[in-house]
């Protein structure tokens, strides 16, 4: 599949479609079945929480959804593309054009200003300098960090760092934003702010968000919750707000 086909996909169906996905690490006696048989769909504009204890398979699901990993069996269709058939570099292109990541540990480049961090995905997308700057500033505005563009990660608080990370994930207006325990390193007040920000981005901009968390409080911001246990989805709820 060419770079153009990967970067300009118009797809009507679900953004994410898991069809009997299983993931096995190792083989023989040592084999660990991280995902057993998982099927679900996520459509554009949804805000989904993925919950479960550690070892339940939620991180594996996240990695597969983010095109960082591929299923051992079954099919994962991202915007209609069977990810398993793609090469490492092709998956990198999918991530570049359609995916945004927010991590528990913020994962900003150290000793690099907020603005430069935001520019990073735009540089990989080869967006020209002036436009890049405008997009980055707009994203910083959206997360309420205007005037902080020249601060480095070390000069920002945890909550601010996570806002920069969210801005970086959404600066390319991705089809799917994956947030892996985004509030895990933050206090309650800060966590609340981050979740409100995500919920607002979902509502105002129609950003499709998948949130991995093990806290019910945080999951409550989502409109749909998938609960994992031992590699399977054991429970699914939809909030009334949807």
């Amino acid at each position: 599949m060419s770079e153009n086909e990967l970067s300009e996909r118009d797809h009507e169906g679900p953004v994410v479609a898991f069809e009997h996905v299983a993931k096995v690490y190792g083989d023989g006696e040592m084999a660990v079945r991280a995902l057993d048989d998982v099927s679900f769909e996520i459509h554009a504009g949804e805000f989904v929480a993925v919950m479960g204890a550690s070892g339940s398979g939620k991180s594996t699901t996240m990695n597969i959804m983010g095109c960082l990993d591929t299923p051992s069996s079954g099919q994962y269709l991202f915007k209609g593309v069977d990810v398993k058939t793609l090469s490492r570099d092709q998956r990198a292109l999918l991530r570049r054009h359609y995916l945004g990541f927010v991590f528990q540990g913020f994962n900003l480049l150290s000793r690099t200003t907020a603005l430069e961090n935001l520019e990073l995905p735009l540089i990989y997308r080869r967006i020209a300098k002036a436009e890049r700057r405008d997009m980055a500033m707009a994203a910083l505005n959206a997360v309420g960090l205007e005037n902080r563009e020249h601060h480095t990660a070390a000069e920002l608080s945890g909550g601010q760092q996570q806002r920069v990370a969210i801005a970086r994930a959404m600066v390319t207006t991705p089809s799917l934003l994956l947030a892996d325990e985004p509030t895990g390193n933050l206090d309650t007040a800060r966590s609340q702010e981050i979740m409100e920000l995500l919920a607002r981005l979902n509502e105002d901009k129609g950003l499709t968000i998948v949130l991995v968390t093990h806290e019910d409080d945080m999951a409550a911001f989502a409109r749909r919750t998938l609960v994992f246990r031992d590699g399977n989805i054991v429970h699914e709820t939809r909030s009334q707000a949807a």
């Binding site: 990198a92 999918l94 995916l99 994962n107 990073l120 997308r125 080869r126």
Partner: protein, 401 residues
């Protein structure tokens, strides 16, 4: 894409200025060493060329040569003054001919003494060597005929023995003999392959033979061609005349040899070529060590930046983009080190040139080569770390603490 990679690499280098500087130190030193060696080498070469013209590019030296007898080489019989006269008589292409007998002797004046070069010759000497007097006079024909004890001295002898005292008319002691100073030669300065030319005492050849060597030998004959272009023809003529006077057995080598100044400089340059090769080898080794230094730091940096590489991959960097970024970083570091090395090398050469008494000659092509080579060192030694960065698994890399 390259523009973007350059931007990313530049930002990465700027993020860690101190480490970047330390990383390139090896390259800086290597390139600086190369530039110093090459610049001073070029200066030396230019100086040698200049001195060749100082010696006189039309000058030829006739040596007695060697005679082979049963495989063992022996010095052929020495020249005598008749050989000089024959050349003077028969030549059509030489402007001047001078006999030369040379030895190092202890020269004494008052309480001062000094080992200097003693030259027995005649008036023609100044023509052959293109050498003028700054004071006094040359030997008169009568003095040459009788081998009178008179001498002409070089500037070094004057300075060392007479200090500021008057020298004309004073008497020098040469071993058991003595001579009256009648002239002073203009200073010629240092020559790379025959030392201080001004450290010389010139006496009539007859005096030299009678009082110093005790024989009638003429060690060498200096001749000068009429013109630069006539040097090969003059050499052939000298060979023809000498062959007649010193017949060797058919098929055997001549019993003399004729050498130009050019040949002497070739001999000198082949010895400097060895020196240059040796220094270049040292420079190459220091560049190699510099390259290993870069590889070392880049490898550490890949480990240290594993998480960052994971972030880049999650954001959508492809393998080749990560690879290129690290390669470009290494090449930029090394190239930057090369530039700094060139600057330091030029500065060093500029400071050393006057101390070593050689001209300072900038070699632009060598500078370009040094820069390209150092960047290349970066690419070569940066490849392995860059590849290991590019092959990281994004999931593992993101989990890296």
């Amino acid at each position: 894409m390259i523009g973007n990679i350059l931007l990313l690499s530049m930002r990465e280098i700027r993020r860690n200025v101190l480490r970047s500087i330390l990383t390139t130190l090896g390259i800086v030193i290597g390139v600086a060493a190369v530039i110093v060696v090459v610049t001073l080498g070029a200066g030396t070469k230019a100086q040698v060329q200049e001195e060749i013209s100082k010696l006189g590019s039309t000058m030829l030296t006739v040596f007695p040569g060697q005679r082979r007898r049963g495989g063992a080489a022996q010095t052929a019989p020495p020249f005598e003054i008749d050989d000089v006269n024959a050349l003077r008589r028969e030549t059509t292409l030489l402007s001047s001919v001078a006999p030369m007998s040379i030895g190092r002797k202890m020269i004494v004046y008052g309480n001062e003494n000094r080992r200097s070069q003693l030259v027995g010759t005649d008036r023609e000497f100044v023509n052959v060597r293109n050498w003028a007097l700054t004071a006094g006079r040359l030997f008169s024909p009568a003095e040459e005929q009788s081998g009178k004890s008179v001498c002409i001295i070089g500037l070094t002898v004057r300075k060392e023995l007479f200090k500021d005292e008057p020298y004309l008319g004073n008497v020098l002691r040469i071993g058991k003999a003595s001579c009256e100073v009648i002239g002073l030669l203009e200073p010629k300065g240092q020559v790379m392959f025959s030392g201080d030319q001004d450290d010389v005492v010139v006496v009539p050849i007859k005096y030299y033979q009678r009082r110093i060597s005790g024989n009638t030998n003429v060690d060498q004959i200096y001749v000068s061609a009429l013109d630069d272009d006539l040097v090969p023809a003059a050499q052939a003529e000298v060979e023809m005349i000498m062959r007649e006077r010193r017949p060797s057995q058919p098929g055997a080598e001549d019993l003399f040899s004729v050498r130009g100044v050019q040949e002497m400089s070739t001999a000198f340059q082949s010895s400097t070529a060895v020196m240059t090769a040796f220094l270049s080898a040292i420079a190459a080794i220091s560049l190699l060590v510099g390259g290993i230094g870069i590889m070392n730091i880049m490898l550490v940096s890949v480990t240290e930046r594993t998480r960052e590489i994971g972030i880049r991959m999650a954001i959508g960097a492809r393998e080749k983009e990560v690879l290129l970024q690290f390669l470009v970083e290494a090449a930029m570091l090394a190239g930057f080190g090369g530039l700094v090395g060139i600057a330091i090398g030029l500065g060093g050469a500029m400071a050393l040139a006057p101390l070593l008494n050689v001209p300072f000659i900038v070699q632009p092509d060598m500078m370009v080569m040094a820069f390209v080579f150092s960047a290349l060192v970066g690419v070569v030694f940066g490849y392995m770390p860059a590849r290991s960065a590019a092959r990281l698994d994004p999931i593992d890399a993101l989990r890296h603490e």
